[in-house]
């Protein structure tokens, strides 16, 4: 009896203590600290000179800060270093993040890495260039068919009805190359001018090749009135060739991307229009897709980050300046 009483007293006091603490904790309410969500981005390159990827990174960082995620960006030095990227994927999986954002350097070779990541319970979101797998939660990229269509449509506005148009593309079989071409063809066939497009020439992503191809084309088909160049390297190479041939402003050129050189060529009128992607949005939306997937809110399988057609007239509009000139020059 006595022993029971001696036990009951501290028990009651402890109860009061806990009750009081409970009330304080309940109302003052220290919310349990959220575990930091870790995201590793494995990009195509971390070369600081690649403006496109720098803008992607800045979009990713903006989103990471806004959504309060831990973001680490990795990548090989060169876009062509597929093995390097696979090794980086392996080490990223070993680090066990919650999610990986992958800008794949190859459509097929990176598939095992993506499978391994999923096996480890890591959410994968692909960015800019996808992989041949259904495993990624989402693919965040420019809708290249639509972009190609924009370029084709613009070209149609620039040329006459019965003139041939050449297509200079970068790599045979590359997704972006194929899709952009498909888009352009769609635009032409939609108005019944599908036969106006000449067979596509490939530059293998060398400016010199684009230059040479242009000269050959001009020699072979002097009646060409327009050239569609499907990426930056092609666009610049074609533009240079046209300048050297004295055909600038005579042959219509619709290109892709917005390097400083291209901007100047647009100002000069050598390039009539360029279709630009929105890398900032791409980076931002990829991180947001990761957050959505982690919160169990499945993002769309394909998130289109949009593309814009820029001409000399529209390039300095306030809404376009930030896209064409994403960084401050010191």
């Amino acid at each position: 009896m006595k022993r029971m009483a001696t036990l009951i007293v501290p028990a009651i006091l402890l109860g009061i203590l806990l009750l009081g603490s409970g009330i304080i904790v309940l109302i003052v309410g220290t919310t349990p600290k959220k575990r930091e969500i870790r995201v590793i981005a494995v990009l195509k390159t971390i070369d600081l000179n690649m403006e496109f990827w720098e803008v992607v990174k800045s979009g990713m960082r903006t989103a990471a800060k806004e959504l309060d995620l831990g973001l680490e960006i990795r990548g090989p030095w060169a876009e062509s270093d597929v093995k390097g990227q696979i090794a980086l994927m392996d080490s990223a999986i070993r680090d066990q993040p919650d999610a990986i954002v992958l800008a794949s350097t190859d459509f097929n070779t990176l598939v095992p890495s993506v499978e391994a990541a999923r096996q480890a319970g890591i959410i994968v979101v692909t960015l800019d260039s996808g992989v041949n797998s259904k495993l990624p939660a989402s693919f965040v990229a420019t809708n290249n068919i639509e972009a190609g269509e924009k370029a084709g449509t613009r070209m149609l506005e620039l040329i006459g009805t019965d003139t041939p148009v050449a297509v200079v593309n970068h790599i045979r079989g590359a997704t972006t190359a194929m899709e952009r071409e498909v888009g352009a063809i769609q635009a032409f066939t939609a108005v019944g001018m599908g036969d106006r497009l000449l067979p596509t020439r490939y530059t293998d992503n060398f400016e010199v090749r684009a230059y040479e191809i242009t000269r050959e084309l001009m020699k072979e088909r002097p009646d060409i009135e327009g050239i569609l160049a499907m990426n930056e390297v092609s666009t610049v190479g074609v533009a240079r060739a046209l300048q050297d041939l004295g055909l600038a402003r005579k042959i219509r050129l619709v290109g892709f991307d917005n390097s400083r050189l291209e901007i100047k060529l647009i100002e000069q009128g050598v390039i009539d229009a360029t279709v630009v992607q929105q890398p900032f949005n791409m980076g931002y939306l990829s991180v947001r897709a990761v957050r959505d997937a982690l919160m169990g809110k499945m993002p769309e399988r394909f998130i289109d980050t949009g593309s814009l057609l820029i001409t000399k007239e529209t390039m300095y509009l306030p809404e376009n300046q930030k896209i064409l000139f994403p960084f401050l020059e010191k």
């Binding site: 006091l13 203590l17 603490s21 304080i24 109302i27 806004e66 020059e329």
Partner: protein, 592 residues
């Protein structure tokens, strides 16, 4: 048992008090912590609001000073004589010469300032002048079609400030700038002669606004009076339609604070409109971030609360214990007193009420003890004097019988026997008096009983025989007087007198382990247990007794020497009765 089970906690004051204190203080601490928490949080909220407001004002001031600086450059350029001359001059050769001097003047302004990216003059005649001869006009850009140029002409000599934009008027340079443009008035013709342009590197503003931290998500942005974004950290997202900013509401409002709820959550906008440009500098706080260190405030308060609880509860227990402990001791002492222990003292050191109570209790107990002692002393004294009185009584029967015997003997001419008897009687009485002393030596006691036996021997003749065999070395020891005579008397009247054959009384005395032992042995009829009890209960003598009962003997021994001493009876009808007198061995002075 059942009651105890049910309510054990209120059984002691200690528990009740500890419980009450704890409940009270927990309630108070909870209240205090919650009130101060909400006060602190409100203070933190308003201070961070104030901080944002100050920040916005400070940024506005900063940008203002840049604009003023650009304005002062423009004023300088406008009034510069070389520039004036350059614009006025029509002749191209002379113009080229002046251009050099004017370029130097412009260069001097920019040289020390990295934040000014361009100072140039565009003559209406198509002439161009920049702060650096290396800066060339972009041949593909027509300045007259650019916003800042058009605005400057429209303003007629007053400065026009552009929003942030990419400056493409210079060849191979696409800088983000803020442009201040102004029509230069030819002072001779008083007509506009060209437009001067001062470009502030936008990096300056980007740095000022970008380095600001307003919580994790908060930010600063700037819009011009038309609602165009001058600076916004999420500009691309807004143009891309991925984010919205409540620009229209901010433009429309004249308040310094706006609280707007949108998809991103509750936001607090602190707005400052700049005087010169009409730009609005807007600080955006997320409501849930206003209390910057909410987590640490919460943690601190929780820790404080818990700490206080612990202290309070320990204090409650200690305090309750301190009050109840002396009470418990007092209670235990009282229980001891109830059981008859009056030698107890409560030791309570405190000087409070309970200490006083303890002291009073001690005093009370001491008084009770004194009273009891006095009472028992008085009782003892009373008893002793009673016994003394009894012992001094002379049994008239004994005296009458003795004297009767003397008469018969005298009549019978037994002169010798008369002498013996009377002298024995005389000595008997004399020893009985023994100078009024209560304690005498055994020698006197044995002598006394000897005289008694002498008298009885004469009276009973052959019917009584006796022997005294006392160890000589105990004769000097002390005893209460008149203890043997009543026992012998008892032996004769109850043992031998009723025996048809002659009987014998033997008195022995010796030292034992625990003291002395005197034995009165008779071989009479013996006493039953009832007779012993009767003998021991009798306080007064019967008709033939000497005046003192057996019980008195026992009582007196106990009174003087303690309860462990006294009488023992051993009796059987066959062997008679043995009375054992146990006494302490107190050696007397040999003189007495």
């Amino acid at each position: 048992m059942k009651r105890n089970d049910r309510l054990p906690r209120f059984r002691s004051i200690q528990v009740a008090m500890a419980f009450a204190y704890s409940v009270l203080s927990v309630v108070m601490i909870v209240g205090a912590v919650l009130i101060s928490y909400s006060v602190t949080e409100e203070a933190a909220r308003s201070s961070s609001r104030r901080y944002t407001q100050q920040l916005v004002v400070q940024i506005a001031g900063n940008i203002e000073s840049y604009i003023e600086y650009m304005d002062s450059i423009s004023a300088f350029v406008q009034s510069n004589l070389d520039v004036q001359a350059f614009l006025h001059e029509q002749d191209s050769e002379a113009k080229a010469a002046i251009a050099q001097r004017a370029e130097k003047a412009l260069g001097a302004i920019v040289r020390s300032r990295k934040d000014i990216s361009l100072v140039s003059v565009f003559g209406y005649d198509g002439s161009f002048l920049a702060h650096d001869p290396a800066v060339l006009k972009n041949p593909n850009a027509d300045p007259t079609r650019l916003g800042w140029f058009i605005q400057a002409r429209a303003n007629g000599g007053k400065p026009a400030i552009s929003s942030s934009h990419v400056q493409n008027v210079v060849q191979d340079s696409y800088r983000w700038v803020i442009s201040l443009s102004r029509e230069v008035i030819d002072q001779t013709t008083n007509k506009g002669a060209g437009v001067l342009l001062v470009d502030l590197n936008f990096e300056v503003i980007d740095r000022i606004c970008g380095s600001v931290s307003l919580g994790k998500q908060g930010y600063i942005f700037i819009v011009d009076s038309e609602g165009n974004i001058v600076y916004h950290p999420r500009q691309q997202l807004i143009y891309g339609g991925l984010k919205t900013e409540n620009i229209q509401q901010i433009i429309a409002s004249r308040d310094e604070y706006l609280s707007i709820k949108d998809a991103d959550g509750d936001k607090l906008y602190s707005v400052r409109t700049m005087g010169t440009t009409g730009w609005k500098i807007v600080g955006v706080n997320y409501e849930d971030e206003l209390v910057a260190n909410r987590e640490s405030i919460r943690l601190t308060y929780t820790a404080w609360g818990l700490g206080f609880f612990a202290i309070t509860i320990i204090l409650s227990i200690v305090l309750a214990k301190r009050i109840s402990e002396p009470l418990m001791r007092l209670r235990r002492s009282m229980q001891a007193v109830e059981l008859g222990n009056f030698d107890i003292r409560v030791d309570i050191q405190s000087s409070d009420e309970i200490g006083e109570l303890g002291k009073d209790f001690n005093i009370m107990i001491a008084e009770i003890r004194e009273l009891i002692r006095e009472n028992s002393e008085q009782q003892e004294l009373k008893r002793k004097s009673e016994l003394k009185a009894l012992q001094l009584q002379i049994n008239p029967h004994f005296l009458y019988n003795t004297l009767d015997s003397v008469i018969w003997m005298a009549e019978g001419g037994k002169e010798q026997e008369v002498i013996t008897m009377v002298s024995a009687l005389a000595r008997l009485f004399r020893l009985s008096i023994s100078k009024g002393k209560e304690i005498i030596d055994i020698r006197s006691e044995v002598e006394h009983v000897g005289h008694y036996l002498t008298i009885q021997k004469i009276r009973y003749k052959d019917k009584l025989d006796y022997a005294i065999e006392v160890d000589p070395d105990i004769l000097g020891c002390r005893t209460v007087k008149i203890i043997l005579q009543p026992l012998v008397e008892n032996a004769i009247y109850h043992g031998i007198k009723n025996k048809p054959t002659p009987g014998k009384v033997t008195i022995r005395g010796s030292r034992t382990e625990r003291g002395l032992e005197l034995l009165v042995i008779d071989d009479g009829v013996g006493m039953g247990a009832e007779a012993i009890a009767l003998a021991l209960s009798r306080t007064t003598t019967d008709t033939e007794g000497s005046g003192l009962g057996v019980r008195n003997v026992d009582e007196r021994i106990k009174l003087y020497f303690g309860p462990e001493y006294g009488l023992d009876f051993e009796s059987s009808p066959e062997t008679g009765t043995t009375v054992r007198v146990r006494l302490p061995a107190i050696e007397g002075d040999s003189a007495s």
